[in-house]
Symmetry: C2
Subunit: 209 residues, 2 copies
Amino acid sequence: MAKRTGEKYQAIIEAAVKVIAGSGYHNAQVTRIAKEAGVADGTIYLYFENKEDVLISLFRTKMGQFTASAEKELSNLEDPFEMLARLIHLHFSRLQGDRNLAAVLQIELRQSDPSIRKNISQIIKEYYNLIEQIIKYGIDRGSFSPCMNPNVARKIVFGSLDEVATCWVLSARRYSLTDLTVPVYELIARGLSTDGKAPPFPVEILPLH
Amino acid sequence: MAKRTGEKYQAIIEAAVKVIAGSGYHNAQVTRIAKEAGVADGTIYLYFENKEDVLISLFRTKMGQFTASAEKELSNLEDPFEMLARLIHLHFSRLQGDRNLAAVLQIELRQSDPSIRKNISQIIKEYYNLIEQIIKYGIDRGSFSPCMNPNVARKIVFGSLDEVATCWVLSARRYSLTDLTVPVYELIARGLSTDGKAPPFPVEILPLH
């Protein structure tokens, strides 16, 4: 089993994000990734089996970091609507903060190759679970509609964030993704709510990120 | 310019759906598509420039048929909520009715290749416009929230339907996609509504398809 930690591992991951975002996954050469990371070509194979392994490891590392930090940030909150608001803001601000990573996550990772897809779907499950936990918690607290199927609601929440983010990455016109946090929150929060009324977006979240 | 109509053209499109769904776009051979369509290999090149052109034409044909029939069906309706309900039902029942087509649309078309992506996004615009028209109409009629940005709302509606459909295609467990029509409608309709109250799903829609 290859090593999965250390400075060089991290450097290769960061280099891969940049090279794959720039040339696309299929055209990205391992040699280019090595050069960008400042390591010898052979070094990559101490850490990764092949280019597919680089892509999947990149996703595992970045997604793991994101989900862990989101879980930590949400663990201090009690109100389900505030948790939802903060999750949407974290999702958008993370992507906006790293346009190369956004291009890799929203475009290059969407490969039809079954083995890549299988690995991706295993890795993203933790994030799906986090969203579903917020929904179940909101139902338990009486904030979110008890008639809702949490699994279907999770797909609607994730699908919405994902589509908004993909359109942002692909748009020829540059605009702020985080500017869409409030309108996306308002529609989804009203949809999830028990009585069709959701509290306004907690504005104190916005300037913090 | 190659011919874009006729029996053989249609037969090749149908064959391509089957072969691409079965082997994946990258492994799908033009020879296999020709054999499946019952035409000579060379005949394909009377209609299509290459395999990429087959994929894009397939999407154009299928998406064009879907959008046209949805427009026609919705044109008789007056209530924005009913239009939304019917759109969700049409979207899900079309995919459920042709599992091969669903696999091509939800998985194989999601190629990161820029030229494929550009063509796809041109073609899907008509469907995006249809969704956005329903939203604008609902706002004008006072049914949908006037605070909403129709473009953001469109991304939420499409993203939700798309994610629910992709999970259905990829699921190892077989279940009915159209069974999710009502829960998806309820959440989205409440989210779009002015007062957080959406009329119940018009059940007479369901047995018709």
